[in-house]
């Protein structure tokens, strides 16, 4: 069945009429307005807020799962679902760690500088890419030098103008990591696309969702340990309901845990008391 519909798909896209474009613009605007109703990064909420989103009768599976997870996780930060959620959740998670760990913060700033030089070497457009890196480094330096209170940090993370620049840094190093390890990762790119094209259209383009390859690349580029807690009906690749990256290490506490619900990531926090 799936093959049938693929064959019937038009291979080339016809030019859109002005009316089509206008309609598309209106629809996009509507979706955008709905998205903007929620903050980019929500406040830390008690984890049971998640169960409250589901009807115990009509969405019993999710309701039950949310309650089960509440035994392990204490808090959740909802992230806006605008296609940037994975990168944004990691950004916020990392910034939270760096605010508490000065040594790691300094190391992360150094890594930022290394990435800046590396991206230029990999052939990324020179000054525009350096701008994004510099912006990210300056942001971390202000945290290092105590120029931001925690509240101000979150104000910045919630301001589109600032946050987009910080996200772009993560997108660039994700793309840079894949390009730098082209031989290893090229076989995973879907047919009909080069790794270069994949990086440009799927990673470097803002508001494009991350897939498994880009998730792996960002984890390795930043050196973080990430756990993804699944809350859909499927299971994680390792057969459980959670997946640890870069690899399934035994008993290693992840730096950041993300909750995956179909098509979306939020940031969650382990219940430290229960451990």
């Amino acid at each position: 069945m799936a093959n049938d519909s693929d064959e019937n798909k038009p291979t080339s896209t016809a030019a859109m009429t002005e009316d089509d474009l206008l309609l598309q613009d209106q629809q996009l605007k509507q979706i955008e307005d709905e998205q903007k109703a929620s903050p980019l990064v929500g406040d830390k909420l008690p984890f049971y807020a998640l169960a409250g989103l589901y009807d115990p009768v009509s969405a019993i599976t999710f309701f039950t799962k949310a309650n089960e997870l509440a035994a392990i996780y204490s808090d959740i930060r909802f992230i806006r679902g605008d296609g940037n959620c994975f990168y944004r959740a990691v950004l916020v998670g990392i910034v939270e760690i760096l605010m508490k760990d000065r040594e790691r913060l300094i190391k992360f700033i150094d890594t930022g500088r290394e990435w800046m030089a590396k991206l230029v070497k990999l052939g990324f457009p020179d000054w525009t890419c350096s701008d994004f890196c510099e912006f990210f480094i300056e942001f971390l330096e202000k945290i290092r030098d105590g120029k931001y209170t925690e509240a101000e940090v979150f104000q910045n993370l919630n301001d589109d103008g600032t946050a987009n620049y910080l996200l772009m840094y993560f997108r660039l190093i994700t793309s840079g990591f894949l390009k730098d390890n082209c031989e290893e990762y090229a076989p995973f790119i879907a047919e009909g696309m080069t790794l270069q094209q994949y990086c440009e259209t799927e990673i470097e383009a803002m508001w494009k969702e991350a897939d498994h390859l880009s998730i792996m690349a960002l984890v390795r580029a930043t050196g973080i340990r990430l756990r993804i807690q699944y809350m859909d009906r499927s299971e994680a690749p390792n057969g459980g309901y959670q997946h640890d990256l870069p690899d399934e290490a035994d008993n290693v506490t992840p730096d950041i845990t993300l909750l995956y619900r179909p098509g979306h990531y939020d940031l969650i926090y382990r219940n430290l008391v229960a451990q």
């Binding site: 080339s12 896209t13 016809a14 030019a15 002005e18 990324f124 457009p125 000054w127 525009t128 890419c129 701008d131 994004f132 912006f135 589109d160 103008g161 600032t162 987009n164 620049y165 772009m168 660039l172 440009e200 259209t201 470097e204 383009a205 803002m206 508001w207």
Partner: protein, 200 residues
């Protein structure tokens, strides 16, 4: 637009203006308002194309989300090209849509449009009529595009006397020159069909 975006945009404009682009590549920009949301681009028609010698203006509008959303760019000067609407100047170019990346700049956009003028992509047309002519009647396409360059982009090729006389005939019937050129071009310069199209 945020301050950082504004700074970047200023730098982008500078990049075009100071890069001695005008003499080398023939691209140029002109800032129309202080907050840099409206910019006028200029592209010199590339040599060895029907646009050679022409001077093409582009309207560039910078969206709030710039540089994360692409600039909105269209031809202000009328141009006969498969990937540009002959009516509205809207351009079909991947980097102005889904292939846009925040690391691109106005300079790369203008150079890409100039490259598109050299190498049309008739399989991904913006103007289906122009694209069909480009593929079916390449000679007519070439002379039509040259005629448009001369008429609308201050081109310097000698006027096509044959085409001009047909335009003049329609003008004698009270049709505006721009409309006459457009309708004749769309009808492969068949005066009868153009007349029928306009008056029926």
């Amino acid at each position: 637009m945020s301050n950082i975006a504004l700074n970047r945009l200023q730098r982008e404009c500078k990049e075009v203006v100071t890069n001695s682009e005008i003499s080398e590549t023939g691209i140029m920009i002109e800032i129309l308002n202080e907050n840099l949301t409206e910019i006028r681009g200029h592209i010199r028609g590339p040599p060895d194309t029907p646009y050679a010698g022409g001077s093409f203006d582009l309207d560039i509008k910078i969206p709030d989300q710039y540089p994360f959303s692409p600039p909105n760019v269209k031809f202000a000067t009328k141009i006969w090209h498969p990937n540009v609407s002959s009516q509205t100047g809207v351009i079909c170019l991947d980097i102005l849509k889904d292939q846009w990346a925040a690391s691109l700049t106005l300079r790369t956009v203008l150079l890409s449009i100039q490259a598109l003028m050299c190498t049309p992509e008739p399989k991904d047309p913006q103007d289906a009529v122009v694209a069909k002519q480009y593929m079916d009647k390449p000679q007519v396409f070439k002379s039509t595009a040259e005629f448009w360059t001369l008429k609308f982009a201050k081109g310097s090729v000698p006027v096509n006397v044959d085409y001009q006389s047909r335009v003049d005939k329609l003008k004698d019937m009270g049709v505006r020159e721009e409309e006459a050129i457009s309708v004749l071009s769309c009808n492969n310069w068949d005066l009868n069909r153009a007349t029928v199209y306009i008056f029926s």
